[in-house]
Structure formats: structure tokens, C-alpha cells
């Protein structure tokens, strides 16, 4: 098995057995992974809500760039890729199935 390297062209999905859900007790989004709990911040939640196994990283960046038109696309792309790579390295994200 090789490391999954996230690029603009990648299509990502949550790895099997990773649960990304809203916790009603704490009123926040959480990621449940094997013997691990992650509490993504607001920005990360916004990105992760676009991870569906079909939408490419570049399309995710486009939609965020449209939402925040004062931030340069390049900067958004860098932040998004770094965040997704970190979660891929932790085994939370894997390659998806684009149409």
C-alpha cells in the first residue's frame, strides 16, 4: 500500500468505517475513527461537507472560492489540499469513484 497523495485532480471519499457526523450532545461536527476522535473546526467542516466520493478537489476549491470571493483561489487551494492530505495520512480519507 502506498501513501495517498492529494492533488488538485484527486477525488476523495471518507474511508470505510470513518464516521463524519453531527453530535447532538456537543452541538458540533465530529469525525469518529478507530480509537480516535477528531473535532474539525468550522472551516474544515465546510470542506468535509463537500467530500462525497464524486466531487474533485479542484471543484471543492472552486465552490469555496465562489463563497469567499475576497480570498485568492490559490491560497484556498493550498489550505484545502493540506487539510485533506492530513486526514488522508490519518487514514480518514481515501480515493473516491468519480462518474
Amino acid at each position: 500500500m502506498d501513501r495517498f497523495v492529494v492533488s488538485d485532480a484527486s477525488v476523495l471519499a471518507f474511508a470505510p468505517h470513518i464516521v463524519f457526523r453531527f453530535d447532538e450532545v456537543r452541538k458540533r461536527w465530529i469525525i469518529l475513527a478507530p480509537e480516535r476522535l477528531m473535532l474539525p473546526d468550522e472551516q474544515a467542516v465546510e470542506i468535509l461537507q463537500l467530500v462525497d466520493g464524486k466531487t474533485g478537489v479542484s471543484a471543492i476549491v472552486d465552490s469555496l472560492a465562489a463563497r469567499y470571493n475576497q480570498a485568492p483561489r490559490e491560497l484556498i487551494a493550498k489550505d484545502v489540499t493540506a487539510m485533506l492530505q492530513d486526514l488522508a495520512d490519518k487514514g480518514c480519507l481515501a480515493g473516491g469513484n468519480p462518474d
Binding site: M1, D2, R3, F4, V5, A15, P16, H17, V19, R21, D23, V25, R26, I30, L32, P34, E35, L37, A88, D89, K90, G91
Partner: protein
């Protein structure tokens, strides 16, 4: 209590103390609970429901060997139905593909499988069970075949520590995404066997180097969690991330404790899930409030700038090594009792004595 307590994150459900293995560092108490004293399936279903309502997110089914319980499959299903993320902590020596497939179908999310060494012969010797290693390998294959993520749990000590690079290799061969290399913690059976298990400094440094090299090489392929032996440290571990702050443990007979060793502390009446709700236990019991926060601390913890990082270290270790659960954990170099740890490290330089295996009735 000045600070508001958050709900617990995880429940360790110790379903049974029964286990085919006899590891001499077992974290179960020296006085093991027999099957007749165990909670019923109905009790556990209620505990799981109360845990989910309280805000628990993950449940770890553990033991002993949890697969010794015939109702494990039903409990996994119940946990999944409640939205609890479930983890099976197993020796992999009871059952195989048939059981694992059923667990996966019932919603199990992850398996943590223990190995006693990478080499079969030494592994079986430490486990006290012939043929255990081979069974574990088959079990690992069944876990992967069922599509479940696998973590290998390697408890390390002076009698297997030199094999760390081979253990990491074995994890890759078995298709694990994660390996936990955890040094023995000296409570219960392990404390009995400390002189036979505590590694020397040289041994430890070699193993730590091997872990660091593998981590760099295997980033994104294999996660390596590494727990160092606190006796060799300068500051104590933040035990359980603080007493009653994140974790709740229920023993086979239904006693609720903040960690699996806490029952050894004298003078604390730990509540039972047979007579109290988990919410009452978590928020209001004397036992769970006893060492919460920092108000209970004496010096040198009280004025230490790490008091909300280490939380005074481990209460059980303070009792076991210094005779008082309210003192600073003696592994801290600032503790006035630190000499007992230095003496134990000295002992580790000598030839190891024979192992005392975990057995019912072996305590006395």
C-alpha cells in the same frame, strides 16, 4: 468543583475477565472476576443506552477476552443501533472468520488485535498459550477479509522489545493501518512482574529510534502509536487525560471506574451500574469527583505550571509506589518519592526473574 465537566468521550466495556491467555502484564486486577459475577446482557444493553444518552461516542469492547461472552454479537448490534462507534479489543484466540463477518455485519467499526511478539515461539511463551500466535495471524486475515480496519497492539517490555522493527514489518504484512507499540504499564500483574519486564535505558533508546525511523518512512501508510514507559521519563503521563475527564470504565461485575486500575485505590467507594445511572456516576459520584481538576493537589503539583497538562500523573501509581493516591506521581522527577522509581530502574539492569502468569487464584 469549579470547572464544568464535559460528557465522557469513551466507554471501556470490560465484558469479562475470562481469557485463554495468561500474559504476565495483564491490566486486569490480580483478583479476577469469575463468570458468575458478570453483568447480564440486559445490564450491558442498559449501560450502552445510558452511555449514548450521556454523550459517549466510542465504546471499546474489552476484557479479558470479550469473545468469551456469547452475547458479544448482540451487544455490538445494540451499540451500533445507538450510534456508538464500536471497537473490539481482542486476543484473536477464540473464533475466527465466521464471528468476524457477523460482527462486521452488526456494525463493528474496528478491531484491535494483540500480539505478544513477532516471533511465534516467544509470543506463545509470553501469552502462556501454545499455538496462540498462529491463531492470531489467521484472525488478522479474517478481519481484513471482512473489510474491517485492523490495529495491531504490541505490548512491549524487556523480553520482546528488541523485535520492534519486525513487529512493524508484521503489521504491514497483515494489512494493518495502525500499530500501537505500548510499553507495559506497571499495575496489577505487571507490577508483580516488574523486574522481569522493565527494559533498560539502552534497550528503550534503540526501540525508540526504530519507531522514529519507521514513522518517517511509513507516513500515510501505517500509523505508529508509541507509548513509552513512564518510569524512564522525567514528567508523568497525563493518565487517562485526567481523572474522570474523558473516560469511563465498567468492570465485568458492573463497577464504574475512571480507569482500569482505579479499583486498587483504598477508601473510595466506586459506584455500580447495577444501582446508579451512568449520568449520576459521571457527574455526581464522590469517586469520579475525587481527583477531578486541581483542588485536591498537594505540592509540588499544586504550583506546577504543568498541573493542567499532566493532572498530577497517575493516581494509582501514586498509591502503588508512594502509598497515597493524593501525592504526586512518583515517576515525576520533582516528586519527593522519585527514589522508588530510580531503584526499580536499577533492578532492571539485573537478570530478569521468572514470570508470574495471570491465572485465577494465582494472586496468593
Amino acid at each position: 468543583m469549579a470547572t464544568r465537566i464535559d460528557p465522557p468521550l469513551a466507554l471501556l466495556a470490560e465484558l469479562t475477565h475470562r481469557c485463554p491467555l495468561a500474559c504476565p502484564y495483564c491490566s486486569n486486577p490480580v483478583n479476577l472476576e469469575r463468570a458468575a459475577g458478570e453483568l447480564s446482557e440486559q445490564d450491558w444493553r442498559r449501560v450502552l443506552a445510558e452511555a449514548a444518552a450521556l454523550g459517549v461516542l466510542q465504546v471499546h469492547f474489552s476484557g479479558g477476552e470479550p469473545m468469551a461472552r456469547r452475547d458479544l454479537l448482540a451487544l455490538i448490534g445494540a451499540a451500533n443501533g445507538l450510534g456508538l462507534y464500536s471497537n473490539l479489543i481482542t486476543s484473536g484466540t477464540l473464533g475466527g472468520a465466521h464471528e468476524i463477518e457477523a460482527f462486521a455485519a452488526a456494525g463493528l467499526k474496528h478491531v484491535q488485535l494483540s500480539f505478544q511478539d513477532f516471533a511465534a515461539e516467544n509470543g506463545d511463551r509470553i501469552a502462556g498459550l501454545k499455538g496462540a500466535h498462529v491463531r492470531k495471524k489467521h484472525f488478522a486475515e479474517a478481519v481484513r477479509a471482512a473489510g474491517l480496519p485492523l490495529t495491531l497492539n504490541m505490548v512491549v517490555h524487556r523480553q520482546n522489545l528488541d523485535g520492534v522493527p519486525d513487529m512493524i514489518e508484521m503489521a504491514l504484512e497483515l494489512g494493518a493501518r495502525r500499530i500501537e507499540i505500548a510499553h507495559v504499564q506497571y499495575y496489577a500483574w505487571a507490577l508483580r512482574n516488574r523486574a522481569a519486564l522493565l527494559p533498560t535505558r539502552r534497550q528503550l533508546d534503540r526501540a525508540t529510534e526504530a519507531v522514529e525511523a519507521a514513522r518517517a518512512k511509513l507516513k500515510g501508510v501505517l500509523t505508529i502509536d508509541y507509548v513509552v514507559p513512564d518510569y524512564h521519563g522525567v514528567r508523568p503521563k497525563s493518565c487517562m487525560s485526567g481523572w474522570g475527564r474523558q473516560f469511563l470504565n465498567v468492570t465485568p461485575s458492573g463497577t464504574a471506574v475512571p480507569c482500569h486500575a482505579a479499583e486498587t485505590l483504598p477508601g473510595i467507594a466506586f459506584p455500580s451500574v447495577r444501582s446508579s445511572s451512568l449520568a449520576d456516576i459521571w457527574y455526581d459520584s464522590d469517586a469520579f469527583n475525587r481527583f477531578r481538576g486541581t483542588a485536591w493537589m498537594a505540592e509540588p503539583c499544586r504550583s506546577c505550571d504543568r498541573r493542567e497538562l499532566d493532572w498530577g500523573g497517575c493516581r494509582c501509581q501514586a498509591f502503588l509506589l508512594a502509598g497515597d493516591a493524593g501525592r504526586t506521581d512518583p515517576v515525576c522527577a520533582l516528586s519527593p518519592d522519585h527514589g522508588v522509581v530510580a531503584a526499580a530502574l536499577q533492578e532492571a539492569e539485573a537478570a530478569p526473574p521468572a514470570l508470574v502468569y495471570r491465572r485465577y487464584g494465582a494472586a496468593r
